[in-house]
């Protein structure tokens, strides 16, 4: 299609009734529109999950607080955890993968566009079902709404005796349905990356973003499915009178824990690998240097994928496994630190000697590096069985994994938003608001999650809805809650920036960052067909080759 034809279509679109435009969006199979769906959907749930977090923090702000009842508190932390993992982190990362992977490998769409749309709507249905539990959860029993079994839903809690009504069933079905959506997207991403690359784009020249999403998708296939299987078993128990997790009939509660964490721990790596992908694209561009040690980065990613699948039982050191099991899972857990350390070393190596530009995406990336390192260090502490016995089930653990998820994943995501927003919308995000967002969020994050380690070390357990005064936890909890409010304000600045810049931002042009990967070769936003002619590449930085024909990368690779 020529650009004239495209202009005519846009002109037609401007005059059409909104119902038609809406219909076109809802029935779309275009990877870019679905990517935007995923991202917007996740942002909505980010706000919902954030409100739940703030409710939790207000309740814990001072001792013997009665802001919410214990039952509501349990529902809030269950919904907060489930929402943030399954309906914020997963969809937003899938959204970026959907949007960027075909553009970066020079393809016109994903391998299976209709499967792509189907996967998104499955995940959307999952989120709807989870929140419908607030209305339909009590069923005929009048037994309270919304699941309150924790996002891990340990076995006796989910049995009929302890979870009457339908709230747990909504949780189960929501995760089952969105899990199938995730598997569909993973299949699609792998098929796209392996079968749709443009001529010359060998595996060795593929952008690291594509490589890391390939590894992530492979992990989704192997580790989301055990969760689906466990959810099917739970439904058999709850609806057909089965005994999988029924200790009265000889069943085992520990088996649920194993099945859940076989999914649960690799899930963390499923979330962090796409963030590593963002870092591997953003850091080189703002350091004005190619990525340091590309083959080693690929190797380390694949190594993380493999090793992280054999570490799950470090969540279960306190249930009384044999000493051999404890030793095995300690060793595997600590060994994940090696490939991860290699990656951090290589990002620093990329920055070393570079002309670093401190734009907002880079600020978030640098913060990511330091915070992810610290999160990894507390992870190594908790990964050692002997240390874990002292602090498991305390706020130290909560602080650790929020350090990973907020300090690592969310910071990387914010960086990705600032970096690719110009490509997706055609407008630059405001740098002033961006810097304000960064510093506010940075301060709020450290206030909340650095300080949260301390009440944990002082013995404050997780999941408690309140505590007595005079245990030395009061001031820390107050400061943690204030930090949570600072983060909320920063997030509002971010949302305001997204909206204001969409209408008033300055035009981005094709390539605002002077970057090197293929998505910056097309207009912003990209046309429906992505590439008028499918590009041919000869190196890892195809745009560098075009911009510097006298000294192309292809001469050295």
């Amino acid at each position: 299609m020529s650009s004239d034809a495209m202009a005519i279509r846009t002109a037609e679109a401007a005059g059409r009734p909104w119902v038609e435009v809406l219909h076109e969006w809802v029935t779309t199979v275009d990877h870019k529109r679905l990517g935007i769906f995923y991202i917007v959907y996740a942002l909505v749930f980010l706000v919902i999950g954030g409100i739940e977090a703030v409710i939790i923090r207000i309740q814990l702000m001072r001792p013997l607080n009665d802001f919410v009842t214990p039952q509501v508190f349990n529902r809030m932390f269950t919904m907060h955890g489930t929402t943030m993992i399954f309906f914020v982190a997963m969809p937003v990362l899938f959204g970026f993968a959907n949007y960027l992977v075909p553009l970066m490998i020079g393809a016109r769409d994903m391998a299976f566009p209709r499967l792509n749309a189907f996967s998104f709507w499955l995940m959307a249905l999952g989120g709807f079902l989870l929140y419908f539990s607030f209305v339909g959860g009590s069923g005929l029993y009048g037994a309270g709404n919304a699941p309150d079994v924790g996002w891990w839903a340990y076995a006796p809690l989910t049995s009929r005796a302890f979870s009457p009504g339908h709230s747990t069933d909504y949780w189960t079905i929501a995760l089952l349905v969105s899990g199938f959506g995730s598997i569909g997207t993973a299949i699609n991403l792998i098929a796209t990356i392996l079968c749709m690359r443009c001529p010359g784009m060998t595996l060795g020249r593929m952008p690291l973003l594509a490589w890391l999403n390939l590894v992530m998708s492979g992990m989704v296939l192997i580790t989301i499915t055990p969760l689906s299987a466990a959810q099917i078993m739970l439904m058999v128990d709850r609806y057909l009178g089965g005994h999988f997790f029924d200790t009265q009939a000889g069943g085992s509660a520990a088996l649920w824990m194993h099945f859940f964490w076989i999914f649960g721990h690799p899930e963390v790596y499923i979330l962090i690998l796409p963030c590593f992908a963002f870092m591997s694209e953003i850091i080189p561009v703002f350091s004005r240097k190619p990525i340091f040690g590309y083959p080693v980065m690929v190797g380390a990613s694949v190594a993380i994928g493999f090793v992280s699948m054999s570490v799950w039982a470090h969540h279960m050191f306190s249930i009384g496994m044999s000493s051999y099991a404890n030793a095995f899972f300690t060793i595997t857990t600590l060994s994940v630190g090696v490939p991860t350390g290699i990656k951090i070393f290589n990002w620093l190596g990329t920055m070393w000697g570079g002309k670093i530009q401190f734009k907002t995406p880079m600020l978030f990336s640098i913060a990511f590096l330091f915070q992810f390192l610290i999160a990894g260090l507390t992870g190594i502490m908790l990964g050692s069985a002997a240390f874990n016995w002292q602090l498991t089930g305390s706020y130290f653990v909560v602080a650790h994994f929020h350090y990973v998820i907020v300090g690592g994943i969310l910071f990387a995501l914010f960086g990705a938003f600032y970096y690719w927003y110009p490509k997706i919308t055609g407008k630059m995000l405001s740098e002033t608001l961006g810097k304000l967002h960064f510093w506010l969020f940075f301060i709020g994050f450290h206030m909340t999650f650095d300080l949260m380690h301390i009440p944990g070390l002082l013995g404050m357990p997780r999941r408690i809805y309140t505590y007595e005064p005079g245990r030395g936890w009061d001031t820390w909890n107050l400061l943690v809650t204030i930090g949570a409010f600072v983060q909320s304000i920063a997030t509002l600045v971010f949302v305001a920036n997204l909206i204001i810049s969409y209408f008033k931002g300055r035009d981005a042009g094709n390539d605002p960052w002077d970057a090197w990967t293929l998505e910056w070769s097309v207009s912003s936003p990209p046309p429906e067909y992505n590439f008028a002619t499918i590009p041919t590449v000869a190196s890892r930085r195809p745009l560098w080759d075009i911009k510097h024909p006298e000294d192309p990368d292809s001469r050295y690779e």
Binding site: S3, A186, I190, C195, P199, G200, T225, A230, G250
Partner: protein
């Protein structure tokens, strides 16, 4: 815009990538294997841990005939695809029908076995741990056979309507890949479930492997 995407190399290298259908199906098979693994682990974990009878040794029989049916349907679907590639419509449709009949026979066998277990031995999914794990594992496989039969029947109807031509053999091959997987999973499920009864079944399975 178009100036940025002009080819860089003047002589594009030969470029061929795997077929997306095959890759997609391979990924689905990996994911499904993972689900089956969890159910197999649950079955093995709970063997002998039921607090009440009946036990597998008391009630299970080895469904050799129906297993032969299912495994040979792998051969028929394979040769049906071969016939389609070579444009022999009659051979394709004949073997395709045979595949569906063999798969249907297997499902019938499973139904008969379940009927016997429920009405003669009173074993249901809620009787004991053995019942829960057995029906879940075999049922999960039966569900996959049913899904496969629906897909095979769809292809058959399209084939009878003359809509399946030799150029579609690659796509039909993707479906036959799924059917091979369903058969391969049965080898695992069969082994896990029936070797608990007698050691002679092990000998039968080893014999099978040598025959294949």
């Amino acid at each position: 815009m178009s100036t940025m995407t002009t080819p860089i190399t003047q002589t594009p290298p030969a470029w061929s990538l795997p077929y997306r259908g095959t890759v997609g199906m391979a990924c689905l098979i990996i994911a499904e294997s993972s689900i089956f693994t969890i159910f197999v682990v649950a079955y093995l974990f709970y063997v002998g841990k039921s607090l009440a009878g009946p036990t597998p040794r008391e009630v299970l029989e080895t469904p050799i005939f129906y297993t032969i049916c299912l495994l040979s349907s792998s051969l028929t679907v394979h040769f049906a695809t071969r016939f389609l590639e070579r444009g022999k419509r009659g051979g394709f449709l004949g073997l395709w029908v045979l595949t569906i009949v063999l798969g249907g026979l297997f499902l019938f066998g499973t139904g008969q076995e379940w009927h016997r277990l429920i009405y003669e031995h009173g074993l249901t999914i809620s009787t004991n741990l053995f019942g829960t794990t057995y029906y879940s594992l075999v049922g999960l496989h039966g569900f996959h056979v049913s899904a496969g039969l629906i897909l095979l029947t769809t292809v058959l109807l399209l084939g009878l309507a003359g809509r399946i031509r030799p150029e579609h053999s690659r796509r039909v091959g993707v479906l036959s890949l799924y059917w091979h997987f369903v058969d391969a999973v049965w080898v695992v499920v069969f082994t896990v479930v029936t070797t608990i009864i007698t050691t002679t079944t092990i000998i039968i399975i080893v014999f099978f492997f040598f025959c294949c």
